[in-house]
Subunit: 367 residues, 4 copies
Amino acid sequence: MGNTIKTGIIGGTGYTGLALLEVLVRHPNVELGFVTTRQESLSGEYVHREHPNLYGLSDLKFSIYKPEDPSFKEANQLLLKQVRDSDVIFLGVPSGVSMTLIKDFLDTGTKIIDTSADFRLRDPALYKEFYGRDHPLPELLKDFIYGLPELHREEIKNAKYIACPGCNSTAMILAGYPLTKIENLDFKVTYTIMTGSSEAGSEPSRASHHAERSGVTRPYSIKEHRHLAEVRQELKLPPLKVGVSMFAVPMVRGVECIGNVFTNRPVEEKELWKAFRSAYEGSPFIRIRARKTGGPGSLPDTKYVRGSNFGDVGFFLDEKHGRIGVLSAIDNLVKGDAGNAIQSMNLMFGLNETTRLKDMVPSYLFE
Amino acid sequence: MGNTIKTGIIGGTGYTGLALLEVLVRHPNVELGFVTTRQESLSGEYVHREHPNLYGLSDLKFSIYKPEDPSFKEANQLLLKQVRDSDVIFLGVPSGVSMTLIKDFLDTGTKIIDTSADFRLRDPALYKEFYGRDHPLPELLKDFIYGLPELHREEIKNAKYIACPGCNSTAMILAGYPLTKIENLDFKVTYTIMTGSSEAGSEPSRASHHAERSGVTRPYSIKEHRHLAEVRQELKLPPLKVGVSMFAVPMVRGVECIGNVFTNRPVEEKELWKAFRSAYEGSPFIRIRARKTGGPGSLPDTKYVRGSNFGDVGFFLDEKHGRIGVLSAIDNLVKGDAGNAIQSMNLMFGLNETTRLKDMVPSYLFE
Amino acid sequence: MGNTIKTGIIGGTGYTGLALLEVLVRHPNVELGFVTTRQESLSGEYVHREHPNLYGLSDLKFSIYKPEDPSFKEANQLLLKQVRDSDVIFLGVPSGVSMTLIKDFLDTGTKIIDTSADFRLRDPALYKEFYGRDHPLPELLKDFIYGLPELHREEIKNAKYIACPGCNSTAMILAGYPLTKIENLDFKVTYTIMTGSSEAGSEPSRASHHAERSGVTRPYSIKEHRHLAEVRQELKLPPLKVGVSMFAVPMVRGVECIGNVFTNRPVEEKELWKAFRSAYEGSPFIRIRARKTGGPGSLPDTKYVRGSNFGDVGFFLDEKHGRIGVLSAIDNLVKGDAGNAIQSMNLMFGLNETTRLKDMVPSYLFE
Amino acid sequence: MGNTIKTGIIGGTGYTGLALLEVLVRHPNVELGFVTTRQESLSGEYVHREHPNLYGLSDLKFSIYKPEDPSFKEANQLLLKQVRDSDVIFLGVPSGVSMTLIKDFLDTGTKIIDTSADFRLRDPALYKEFYGRDHPLPELLKDFIYGLPELHREEIKNAKYIACPGCNSTAMILAGYPLTKIENLDFKVTYTIMTGSSEAGSEPSRASHHAERSGVTRPYSIKEHRHLAEVRQELKLPPLKVGVSMFAVPMVRGVECIGNVFTNRPVEEKELWKAFRSAYEGSPFIRIRARKTGGPGSLPDTKYVRGSNFGDVGFFLDEKHGRIGVLSAIDNLVKGDAGNAIQSMNLMFGLNETTRLKDMVPSYLFE
């Protein structure tokens, strides 16, 4: 393998593709060989024609890849050869598409990091419950490692296939995971999540139209969200014990998450501190914010993670109301998407997991 | 009294003062006689020097009123005379200030609509619990009617003194009130509230600095908020049954509220419909949004109430998680502030409660 | 005709339709009989299903109108009958569509207020220069009055057909018009315009996608804009004397305009004051802001007109650079669109031109 | 000197201090020894208490430095020793303060990079014209190099003292500089600039209050701006030939600049291409955007530089109006502030000028 990881991106036009590119164009150990598109008008164009921020940072051009279309047979075959010659590839295609493409990639023997929702759930029944249909490749599910390094660091190091978590699932899991470290604790958690507009992807629609999306605090997926399936799996919680309501808020990047937790017994603050610290010991991107004195940075806020791979977490006790609150804030496109993917890649190839990602300093003046 | 209500505003420089002015300058039945300020530099200046949007809409000038300062003795006495000659006055001063001014106004015999938090709670113990000190005028508390027409319409009609609700309390109460109409229902409700920056008032601070407030989804008052006291009072709930966490989101105007409700027995959707409809029958500003088909306007969203006196409410059932959700959205400066005040005034003086307020058509393109 | 103006809107789903509805649903002298749509899915639906802010304000339902489609023959004929029974109709359809529909409406004898660009230019050559094709109905152009009351008040009172100005043209004309009142002045004006996202209409696209439109200061139509044709016509300026560059800025509503003016002779400040005052004497919606002391409201700012029909104008002298600056700020959907239309209607039917529009108080906290 | 540059920041609490920290905490060749504050409450506190985004990225603590206050004598002396032991220091204090501090630093013999406006102008008369007072240290002005590498690369390499340009000056100079490369061209340029709120610094005020700053397109410094002095100096233009008007627009970071240029003779497009290319050959952070086909990235847009050190420039020809347009877009806190400072430092110490800065990939989804 040497010092350089040869890689490429399948599906580079959407926001996941963009987010992967923003990290990879400056990753010191990566040689980025190809980025694919399904849009014929982009084939052969510089990636910065689609992602103008990358002008001056990459001279890569889009390759067309449409495996189902025989008129692109040659391009498709060339791409598969490039995949075969790579150490790892990133799938940046939408959920539901990865599963239609993956067979050809599996045959190449190359490692795969999939950012879609297709291989995140190990239990086909859970997939069916949340996605409303049978998983077409249930036998593959066990071969994928859930790409959240904070929970699966060692497995990721040895993984061949990674399924990166969703942004909302990352936020819910990071906020709630420490609770599972507390002994003799039975709890019920109801999450409320506030998200930025980039979470919905790059496809224009009325809901994403600037004049309509600006200024909203808008409930959506109010009873449930597909990402809840991942929380059920990772925190090992039954339906009655975990629920979520989603709100769109007027920002572009960010996920803010609060979990309202009711427990079978009183919990002390020092138990929470101990649980959060032990849960994230050795996790360089997790920052605990639970300062009771208030002020800037005392609790997780999307403002302080934007543009970075940090996952900020925190908690509070509301004794009057018999409640624990757990909190998290992430950038949906980094820690909730491409950041997890690159962090996993770093681990898979024996690099420091912070490589390149630590250079992405969040600025609270970005938005 | 005749057809015209003579009135004036004590404290017209802050956002409540602004919001009152925006309604009153075009109220067909109101003669606005004075607006006071504590800033000497504004004394005698047109109100539009402070509120530039009002240029061309009012030629009123600020009067100075500083009752504690003997050097303004003449101005202070003139103001009290104007109060005496008015039918009703609005107090737009901050919480904690109304109580220091009110004695002089009570002596005039004029009706009072106070927008501060000083007289909202009937129980001095509740005041002490939330405001951390004894109420200085506990004997007055019983004389004030809580100015939320949807719950106290008949009392308001006959009221002499009104204490207008807070914006967050209005949102929580409007969302939760229908639950109290359901028979044999015992419930616990945990609110999450998302607010715009204008809620914090017009005083600049680091937290309100544009570069620092933009792009936040920021927890604050995360364990509790003073407005919870009003919810305890109005919904008659003990501390263990009602809690709240607040989040600042990147908008100027608006309060979005979700209450996660856990009940002592299963509740059916038709019970909820019945409860919401009966709770708000005859309330022209309450709009129920609980359309399960989704799409624009299916649930309460700050986007659709901004600039208006509407209070949008809604609900959903999440059987999997054993939860009911209740929702509301208001404009914090109208239905959460000046709108309630003017609606109360309309009722007190025998006008249709929608007078002037119905002309304030929300636009979902305001922000 | 009586006290009530019978009217209807052709094309009520876009933002012009929305803006017209927001004014008309509360206009005291208007009976709004119909609103049409081309979307079959909306036919028979409440207007608030498309414009959720209007819930509770109107029980009107959309009528389908697709004159070119014989399968809607009955609906089309019914609509024409409604037009015939109306005093005036508003065309809220896109530019290029009005001209395809108008013949049928002309036959009804009903007055027409068109908000599109189709009939704004009296000179077919000017139309061809800016729209790149021959006008299909050049003989009609002379029958339309340019619906900017500040320049054509008397003509509008007697008009049968009104072509409402564009938003950018309104801003440029209001800023520059006073210069034409100064004697012996020859000038060249180069405008820069900053616009909100609602100006581009309700059709989603990549450019209007929230994540892509937020945070931009983006040049577009940088060499010229079609609205410049109207400025050429109204200010009687040849191409070399007037130019414009457009910038999209991160707001929803508003047009801010600066004109950099170079003149054949020095101009004194008092000449400017005189010109601006005389140009807009008797124009209730024009507010002059040219206060040299600075501070809020000293110059035109979109913040202070949002949601209203005000057109704020101003000027400054920069002797060092040998330049005059003229400025304007409007809400593109009110003074730049529906507001002009309703103001014209008021004039056409003998009402005070401020009817209903003065109730729309701008708030500087809307966005 | 070795491989590591020893440095520190005088004045680390404002936005310039923040911006310097965001770059320096991850600069591979820098050892950041100290960051000072004037706020006693911050003395000894981690820098992330003031700049919460830096949590996890730096364990540096603020040092107090108040040279005028004898009660901090020990701290002040310690700081001067640290300066003496450094290779270079950055002054992040406000304009007007650098000049009061600099004498002590000059005595240490350490190199200085000043981000304030105090030493940008070589001509004391120009300083007086724009700052309204005599420069207190006119003899020092000639010792400072104007820290814009694109114009002064070689001088910076050998400089001891650098005065970094202002953000608006950077934007105006970068847009206009290529015009000076065109032979036989005499021109007059009138700039219009649109800026984000972070440009005004971190001090709260009414103008920066979120509710008041949101949604504005607000003229300010409409006749002139102090940064114009730098343009006069760098482009060697007399007052009549260069002017500027400033607008605040609703974003946090970014400067967008258009210069309307009128010339003594017609200019061809290929002359412009040649001028822009030759002006910025060898300047790795300048990207020319002048694509006539339109679409994303065709012209400079704040959206595509945010968070990076790129300076995007462009131009267009408007023959009809006899005008050339020049354009630029920068991030005011990077290319307009700390980025220029670090780029200059890199050059001064023989590093590749892109060190660390190229890792700061702009994202068009930051705001």
